[in-house]
């Protein structure tokens, strides 16, 4: 029997069109806009000025405070301006605009493709290098990796979990990365194991990627303490808490962190970035982005420089089809529709999805019939049918008592609702208001 998490979960149509199309390099765009806030936490502070010449990989903004991250130039050229640009949030945020001129990398980066297996650095040095390279969680949450690797005092990490699940339909960036850069990922896992000082690492891969499972098992057999787990296909298995439950059987307590149960989890994309940062001195300035959709002519996986406008990625895949209704950044379940296709690619952009207008339209909301489908699919064991009216009626104390803060915003409830109720919209609203109340209370 395949492992999986117990509570809830759904299985939407997979639609992984670009799984075996490989990873191609996207041609450099004419100009890039590198956002200063591509991570959770405080925005980075610019250290370059307008008119400066920068090289690819050069530091252009430093992280402010502990929970923050460095930002590097993804192309070489001249800084055109430091101005606001609409980002995925739909609001204007500060960004550094660079006019591309050639592709000259800083000298410290090793650009050869040879695999470097030897680990010479100590755990602390590895974490320092990861911090300098500006690595954040590439699964989508963009939490700074060096913060995750710094285990709080009094807690102990016992094992490492590597997330190769990619439970979101359509997306194939992690899958193709595992197929092409499997060995590098394994070395990256060894690096993270050393940084955390843990003996064991588990790789979780859903069973709809048999080629990746076979390959990773073959590669992992050469190393000690790396185990590959084939998991049952179920959304949202890529959620940190769900993956930990599926592999180790441990449950992260309400309001707690994975390290409370002795686990630290990373996405395979992050692991590959760690390998490149530590062994090749390459900061995080490019990532794999899936561009897909039913109507798109050439679904593909591209290695994209951070800051490239999403429209350039779409054009490389055959351009926007005529009847496109929505362009979504991220997966179809948790992604966000974009208000403008010129939004730049960020560190957390795992995919770009194009929906035809008929596919993407919202249906009209009908009254709740108390079928409790939302309750049975909620992976956190919440009651979405109840949380929605509570959020509508501003019953914040009851929302908190019903553990609204545990919601991981996976969208399974809205997906499954036969009455097409926008459950997650209201739960998210209630969550943000309750979160604000809790934060004010903590300050007092």
């Amino acid at each position: 029997m395949l492992k999986t998490f117990k509570k809830g979960g759904i299985h939407p149509p997979e639609n992984k069109f670009s799984a075996h199309n490989g990873i191609r390099k996207l041609p450099l765009p004419g100009s890039v806009a590198i956002l200063l806030s591509q991570h959770l936490g405080a925005p980075a502070k610019v250290i370059v000025n307008k008119g400066d010449e920068v090289k690819t990989g050069q530091l252009i903004a430093t992280g402010e405070g502990f929970v923050s991250s460095n930002v590097h130039a993804s192309v070489s050229g001249k800084i055109a301006k430091i101005d606001d640009v609409t980002d995925i949030s739909g609001y204007r945020k500060q960004a550094v605009f660079i006019d591309v001129a050639g592709d000259e990398w800083i000298e410290t980066i090793k650009r050869d493709n040879t695999l470097e297996k030897d680990i010479q650095l100590t755990g602390e040095e590895i974490i320092k290098k990861i911090n300098e390279a500006g690595i954040v969680g590439l699964g989508g949450a963009t939490f700074p990796t060096h913060v995750k690797l710094t285990v709080p005092r009094g807690k102990k990490a016992e094992c490492l979990i590597i997330n190769g699940v990619e439970c979101e339909p359509y997306l194939t960036s992690d899958h193709s990365l595992m197929l092409e850069k499997g060995e590098e990922i394994i070395v990256g896992i060894q690096l993270l194991k050393k940084a955390l000082n843990v003996p064991l690492a588990h790789i979780g891969i859903e069973n709809n990627k048999p080629d990746a499972i076979v390959l990773m098992e073959k590669l992992a057999a050469e190393y000690k303490g790396i185990k590959v787990h084939a998991l049952k296909v179920k959304y949202p298995q890529g959620g940190e808490k769900q993956l930990i439950k599926a592999i180790t059987g441990r449950e992260v307590p309400s309001g707690g962190l994975p390290v409370d149960v002795g686990v630290v989890a990373f996405n395979v994309g992050t692991v590959f970035a760690v390998y490149e940062a530590v062994q090749k001195n390459k900061p995080l300035f490019e990532r794999v982005v899936t561009i897909t959709g039913k109507t798109l002519s050439q679904p593909a996986n591209f290695r994209v420089r951070i800051g490239t406008p999403i429209s350039a990625v779409i054009n490389a895949a055959g351009g926007i089809p005529g009847d496109t209704g929505k362009i979504v950044s991220g997966g179809p379940m948790m992604g966000k529709a974009l208000s403008d296709p010129e939004v730049p690619v960020m560190k957390g952009t795992s995919g770009v999805l194009l929906f035809a207008s008929g596919e993407s339209a919202r249906r009209n909301m009908l009254p709740c019939i108390r079928c409790a489908k939302c309750v049975s699919v909620c992976p956190m064991g919440l009651e979405p049918y109840l949380l929605m009216p509570l959020a509508q009626k501003n019953s914040f104390d009851r929302l908190e008592a019903e553990h609204v803060m545990d919601c991981i915003e996976c969208g399974s409830c809205s997906y499954t609702c036969p009455a097409d109720r926008p459950l997650l919209d209201f739960i998210r609203l209630g969550k943000s208001k309750v979160g604000r109340i809790i934060r004010t209370r903590k300050k007092q």
């Binding site: 606001d84 609409t86 949030s89 739909g90 609001y91 204007r92 966000k336 529709a337 208000s339 403008d340 339209a361 919202r362 909301m365 926008p422 919209d425 209201f426 998210r428 609203l429 943000s432």
Partner: protein, 289 residues
């Protein structure tokens, strides 16, 4: 036959007497003293339970008023000075007066002035839409037009104008309870001093973008040019974040600022029509271009 009736009357009377005794002693034992003034004060309050005073309903506010030493910081915006002075006479205290206020919407981004560049088909709620993105137009600061403010108004003082897509405040009905101020996710409502005849002058824009960006997305946006700031003789205008703000307490309605505005972002209401307002404004617009 008659004996049955007599016994029944006696039994029931005895039962009633015993129950009355028990109730009397219980009531004495668990008596809660409540200041009779609370009921008197509550009777004077408007009973709208709107929360405009900052307390959970009129009863709660009445309790607070009776307990409080002075009326500092305690005011019923719905009842206004009249109600507060009556309450003061009930409690035998000094009344605190406050200037009457009215809510205004600081956005004039109608469909005509502020073209839509995307289409929102999610849940029709300003709070949800603003969490998702900046809105259907290029302006991230303006009215979203889904009417969360209309929903919270207890006094029927707000309604959506289907032509402009913006909410309209009914000055006669507005009680300045502040529910819309709290609800608007874009912070567009402001409680301003209420002049006689509902005269108003205010900057109808909250866009903090640089002038060029703001103007591109909305033709009546404040571009932060400071022209009104320079002309104001009463120091009532403050420039902050590329935005002019007219302090309604300092403003004397001299009307010098509005014709200076190159984008017509300063709105005037309830004031006599100017002799040649059109020509003044067009001249300035031409100069700007």
């Amino acid at each position: 036959m008659s004996s049955i009736i007599i016994y029944t009357i006696i039994t029931l009377s005895l039962l009633g007497a015993v129950a009355a005794l028990v109730l009397y002693f219980v009531a004495q034992r668990f008596k809660v003293y409540e200041d009779p003034n609370i009921d008197l004060v509550e009777a004077e309050l408007p009973a709208a339970n709107c929360g405009g005073c900052g307390f959970a309903g009129c009863r709660n506010f009445a309790e607070t008023l009776v307990k409080a030493e002075t009326f500092d910081g305690l005011f019923c915006p719905v009842g206004g000075n009249e109600t507060m002075s009556r309450i003061a006479s009930v409690l035998g205290r000094e009344a605190v007066t406050q200037e009457a206020r009215v809510a205004v919407l600081r956005c004039n981004g109608t469909c005509e002035f502020r073209p839509k560049i995307s289409k929102y088909d999610g849940t029709m709620s300003c709070a949800i839409a603003s969490a998702l993105y900046g809105g259907e137009t290029g302006c991230n600061y303006g009215c979203l037009g889904f009417g969360d403010c209309v929903m919270v108004c207890n006094f029927d003082a707000l309604h959506m104008d289907p032509v402009t897509g913006l909410p309209v405040v009914d000055d006669k009905k507005c009680t300045s309870c502040g529910a819309c101020v709290k609800e608007c996710p874009k912070d567009l409502f402001e409680l301003r001093k209420r002049w006689k005849g509902d005269k108003k002058i205010y900057v109808a824009c909250m866009n903090e973008d640089k002038g060029g960006v703001a103007r591109k997305n909305c033709s009546v946006a404040c571009i932060g040019c400071s022209k009104c700031f320079k002309v104001c003789p009463h120091d009532a205008i403050v420039m902050k974040n590329n935005l002019a703000f007219i302090d309604s307490v300092k403003c004397k309605l001299c009307r010098k600022c509005a014709p200076e505005c190159p984008t017509n972002a300063i709105l005037e209401f309830g004031l006599p029509i100017r002799k040649q307002p059109e020509t003044i404004n067009t001249q300035l617009i031409n100069k700007e271009e």
